[in-house]
């Protein structure tokens, strides 16, 4: 009975992960299977309603919306992943080093992080990408700057409490170097929390990319990005609402999925707060 129950629990959780994996895989490979060229303008077919030929209809320049949604997923989600990876590569090592060294260095470092965290991250991202000028690269930079602090802080606080434990002292008396201790004995401990925060954050990052693109600071036309597509469709909201609804649903699904996965992981790793 117990085995059956365990297998069942494992299966329902694995099922979720398989579905999520499938979703992201679909996003990655979808652009290979677009029925039409997402950039092909065709003024004879503008603002068409959904039909067999154009599954989601066409936009104000006659481009196939279905193809643009598929391609846009790669842009939005791919950029989100890139941002997340850079944030982790910056925030985690800095947090570890700061927590491990401690003392004065740690105090100064925390004040720097505090000054970043004092502003809502959306404001920082808008200001930075506004100053640097609208482009995808600047958008990535802006979001990384806005986000890295919270990871550094999380990692730093975990390391601060972990490094007082005896196993770290033991590693020290066994003659391991600080680098070895950080990498092999503390990093795996920190990664659980970081993973949860990252999956929960992924949805927010997607939203941020879409929002910044929506106000024209991110992806530039004709790049099919979900937020930018929302922006382009605003003048036609009354005549062709599907132009706005469909990219909106795409964004919502991706954010929802990443939040659900984050919740599952949080329960799994038992992270509080």
């Amino acid at each position: 009975m117990k085995i059956i129950k365990q297998t069942y629990q494992m299966n329902s959780q694995s099922l979720l992960f398989i579905l999520v994996f499938a979703y992201f895989l679909a996003i990655v490979i979808a652009p290979l299977f677009t029925p039409h060229d997402p950039l092909q303008i065709n003024m004879n077919e503008r603002l068409l309603k959904p039909s067999e030929e154009h599954l989601f209809g066409t936009d104000h320049l006659g481009r196939d919306l279905f193809s643009r949604i598929l391609t846009g997923g790669q842009v939005t989600v791919g950029t989100g992943l890139l941002v997340l990876i850079i944030v982790l590569l910056v925030g985690v090592p800095l947090g570890m080093v700061s927590g491990f060294i401690g003392g004065r260095f740690d105090r100064y470092f925390m004040r720097i992080i505090d000054s970043f965290m004092a502003f809502p991250d959306f404001i920082i991202a808008i200001v930075l990408s506004g100053i640097l000028g609208p482009s995808m690269l600047n958008l990535i930079f802006a979001i990384v700057v806005a986000k890295w602090g919270s990871y550094a802080r999380l990692v730093r606080s975990t390391v601060l409490s972990e490094k007082e434990k005896d196993y770290v002292l033991m590693a020290v008396v066994n003659g391991l170097s600080a680098f070895q201790i950080i990498r092999k004995h503390l990093l795996p401990h920190v990664m659980g929390n970081v993973l949860v925060l990252a999956t929960l954050d992924f949805g927010k990052i997607i939203l941020m990319i879409a929002s910044l693109s929506y106000i024209g600071l991110g992806a530039q036309p004709p790049t099919p990005e979900w937020g930018a597509m929302l922006n382009e469709s605003t003048p036609y909201v009354q005549s062709s609402p599907h132009l706005m609804i469909i990219p909106g649903i795409a964004i919502m699904c991706t954010v929802l999925i990443s939040n659900l996965v984050g919740d599952v992981l949080r329960d799994r790793f038992d992270v509080k707060g």
Binding site: G103, D166, Y167, A171, V172, V173, N174, G175, K184, H189
Partner: protein, 269 residues
């Protein structure tokens, strides 16, 4: 021949003296016991030897000589070479003294790698031999995570790690305090056996006189950061001169101060 000499050691914490004028010598292959109540500075003294003093504490005066070298002010890098290879530690808290998500074999392997350049198989041999020395089921423990072992097994595993590279000095900081008395005796026996085998000196820190009595060659009694009495086991236990030592002896359960040495011996055993 003296292996470890501590000379006039003063340690202070933000200008407040913690350890005052400590003087003792541990000879090669000797079991030296440092005994005293909590907060008497025993563990701080032990930390100083391996260069493990907390940041807010510092050596105000004195020297630590190990193997005829002054190791009082070594750099971190030099201490790193010494720790685990020449001087190794066993601590009280066995539950958290091994990294929880790493197999014990992996941790042992990593430690050997940090000190010697050996092949994978040679490292494995050394680790398995050490686990055998502490009477653990070698293969099983080598492939276990710390939470899969019992308290006594864990403590023996950390002893195995400590003695793996044949250190000259094993510092055992209350290794049995968190264990039940039967397991504690077993762990002590393991340490005693290993001492015979690799002929290392042992700096044993405890507050339990009964444990000090059994294996020690030399005993030093510490109180409030000072050594109040030191000498051979016989002189300290049977002919205590300092009032604190007498009180300590008097505090052992069921022993009255009027108890004769022969009777005391019986009870202590």
């Amino acid at each position: 021949m003296s292996l470890l000499t501590v000379r006039h050691l003063h340690i202070s914490c933000r200008n407040k003296p913690i350890v005052k004028n400590i003087d003792f010598t541990v000879r090669q292959g000797e079991w030296f016991t440092l005994i005293g109540e909590s907060g008497s500075g025993k563990s701080i003294t032990a930390s100083t030897i391996g260069g493990l003093l907390p940041k807010e504490m510092s050596i105000a005066a004195g020297h630590v000589l190990f193997d005829n070298k002054d190791i009082t002010h070594l750099s971190n890098k030099e201490f790193q070479k010494l720790r685990g290879k020449e001087i190794s530690y066993v601590f009280q808290d066995y539950q958290s003294s091994l990294t929880p998500f790493m197999k014990i074999g992996k941790q042992m392997d990593e430690m050997i790698q940090a000190h010697c350049s050996l092949t994978k198989n040679e490292r494995r041999e050394i680790a398995l031999q050490a686990l055998e020395d502490v009477q653990l089921p070698t293969k099983r423990v080598y492939n276990s995570y710390p939470f899969q072992l019992s308290g006594g097994q864990l403590q023996r595993a950390s002893i195995a790690m400590a003695i793996m590279l044949n250190p000259k000095l094993l510092i055992a900081d209350e290794p049995t305090t968190a264990l039940d008395s039967i397991t504690a005796v077993h762990v002590l026996e393991v340490i005693a056996n290993i001492k015979e085998k690799i002929n290392c000196a042992i700096l044993f820190i405890t507050h339990d006189l009964r444990l000090a009595r059994k294996y020690s060659n030399t005993i030093a009694v510490m109180k409030q950061g000072e050594i109040v009495e030191a000498g051979t086991k016989e002189s300290v236990i049977y002919h205590p001169s300092h009032p604190y030592t007498k009180r300590l002896l008097g505090a052992v359960p069921t022993i009255k101060s009027s108890t004769s040495p022969a009777k005391l011996d019986l009870i202590l055993q």
